[in-house]
Symmetry: C2
Subunit: 336 residues, 2 copies
DNA sequence: TTGTATGCGTTATCAT
DNA sequence: ATGATAACGCATACAA
């Protein structure tokens, strides 16, 4: 059927071993023979059989990306960053989504990884997720994106700082009744959400402003959730004059709720999000932008490095990428 | 190192052939021995070596998804549909993005496909894309999503109908000066864009309304592009009273342009898009919604079917999924 | 129903 | 620098 390494070897009058070495750029191959072999391989339209190569070498040349969502902005954007790096490196990208605690029925990821990838990249699962633990227990080289775990390499932003920046921005504008839209009730430790809340707390404390528990609402990191949360805040006796939404998508929903109530973002109530979502500019939303494609890119590069350095149990580096506050018209000075 | 089929065979007191058959659910295996083998495999924590299996069988158990973008809504949403089906089928999903005509430097997809996938799914490339042609020339079972080509199975919406529905909606509201925001200048045939334009033309013709070339603008299917296009339309001597944007994202940009000019969607100028983008509800955008996750799901299922039916050169079915008009407040009756 | 034996296409070890 | 050859782990045609 297809051309094999043997065909190339015969055509070149050398052994398959030499062809293998030549084509892979290994040393100890005469320059002229290498060149000849390369030309013949090209002429014959030879492509290596990945299965055979993998079986013989033990390496798969592919890595898995494990994510709870594919179609959401943050996740697809991380994924695009990962993909660009892996493509350049000639590594196959296996995509697998996993169920979320609430989510739909899916196969657990760990069994699907065994013997088929050299490493894994995990996007924004909860640190206490059992599935995540199973993946880590596989002992594969793994990097985390958007979450941290002790002893595991990761790439994130400084979420405490992000929460602080957003909150401080509102405080600087003179706001004191500051609401916050978080994800859900129970925040597990070490999550982005928890860290952002800590930043919120710290900024409020530094400013000497008491946190009003009535001004907290759950938005579940979705647009409808943000809308509901904001509606809840607006129907309070004393609504906030400014709101910190822990994601742009929740902020979008919040803006919608404001409009439904005849309120205008910025003019009537200030709101700031986190993400730097594509749509944030469109909606004139102030936000703490994170370099999402870079999160994916850098995590992928770190993982590749880990794969290439045999044995070197890297020091489980935690990489933090910088965020920046983008001020738009959704946040304005407090004007009673 | 790892457990092999031999270990399972020895432990069960049978041959590796029987283990292979038993574990893959092939017939001609005694029920009791199969059960015993399964239990032992489980106890031993045996997982099959994909490389070895692929090498021996010739099948890879994986399919590639080829897409020009990963982080854009349409593409990531299609991808999520594809992924759910492939995961259920136990097929590996190899993700590879390709360069667009304008796009960044990337490796051509075809060489990366050879000998490593059983089939390919292509999302919304141009029918005249050379890369697409190379992929098709590979002779792999392939399904197209969001584009059609003679002789190749595909899953799309009826784009002519989509264009017609959107336009007819505006006409029904009494509009006559109807603008249109398309992708770019040269529309290749058989593309969604061209078809949507044909639907636009047909609806206008049926209504006896002349098409004003001055009311056409290019939005390049992006938000900024849509914004520019709308700005161009608004700075005409006689701006349109309604606009058909060929994608929701271009409509989003258009809405922004309208706001910049102090105009309100629906009240001042009506606008309708195509997609049913997550954000369309948030922005109260009327749109012709397409079942995007279903496009991916159904294409994946069709491809799986094709892979399972050996030899059956399926009749290159073109599947069209239904769209539906969602009316929101961005479109209102013409009121001079 | 089960076992035997060969082939799948490389890589890597050990010679030369 | 190059060659010979034994793995690599499974699938499958053929026998039994």
């Amino acid at each position: 059927m297809a051309i094999t390494i043997k065909d190339v070897a015969d055509a070149a009058g050398v052994s398959t071993a030499t062809v293998s070495r030549a084509l892979r750029g290994l040393p100890n191959v005469d320059a002229s023979t290498r060149e000849r072999i390369q030309k013949i391989a090209l002429d014959l339209d030879y492509v290596i059989s990945p299965s055979a190569s993998r079986l013989a070498s033990g390496r798969t040349g592919s890595i898995a990306v494990i994510t709870p969502y594919i179609a959401r902005w943050y996740f697809s954007t991380v994924l695009s960053g990962v993909e660009s790096v892996l493509q350049s490196a000639g590594i196959d990208l296996l995509l697998m989504s996993v169920s979320t605690p609430e989510g739909q029925h899916r196969l657990p990821p760990a069994p699907r990884l065994r013997r088929r990838v050299d490493g894994a990249l995990v996007i924004a699962l909860s640190p206490r997720d059992a599935q995540l633990q199973e993946v880590l227990d596989l002992g594969l080289p793994t990097s985390l994106i958007g979450l941290t775990m002790p002893g595991v390499p990761s790439v994130t932003i400084d979420d405490v700082m992000a929460g602080r920046m957003a909150t401080q921005h509102l405080i600087n504008l003179g706001h004191e009744r500051i609401g916050v839209i978080t994800g859900a009730a129970v925040g597990s430790p070490f999550t982005a959400e928890t860290d952002r809340y800590r930043g919120f707390e710290a900024a409020m404390k530094d400013a000497g402003i008491a946190i009003d528990p009535m001004l907290e609402a759950y938005g579940y990191f979705t647009i409808p959730g943000g809308e509901q949360a904001m509606t809840a805040l607006l129907t309070q006796r004393k609504p906030p004059t400014a709101v910190f939404a822990m994601s742009d998508e929740m902020a979008f929903g919040a803006i919608r709720a404001m409009r439904s109530h005849g309120l205008q973002p910025g003019r009537d109530i200030s709101i700031v999000g986190v993400d730097g979502h594509d749509m944030s500019e469109l909606l004139d939303l102030s936000t703490v932008a994170q370099p999402v494609p870079d999160l994916g890119r850098i995590a992928a590069e770190a993982l590749l490095l880990q794969l290439r350095s045999p044995g070197t149990e890297s020091a489980a580096e935690e990489i933090h990428l910088p965020t920046r506050l983008i001020v738009r018209s959704s946040t304005r000075p407090y004007a009673p």
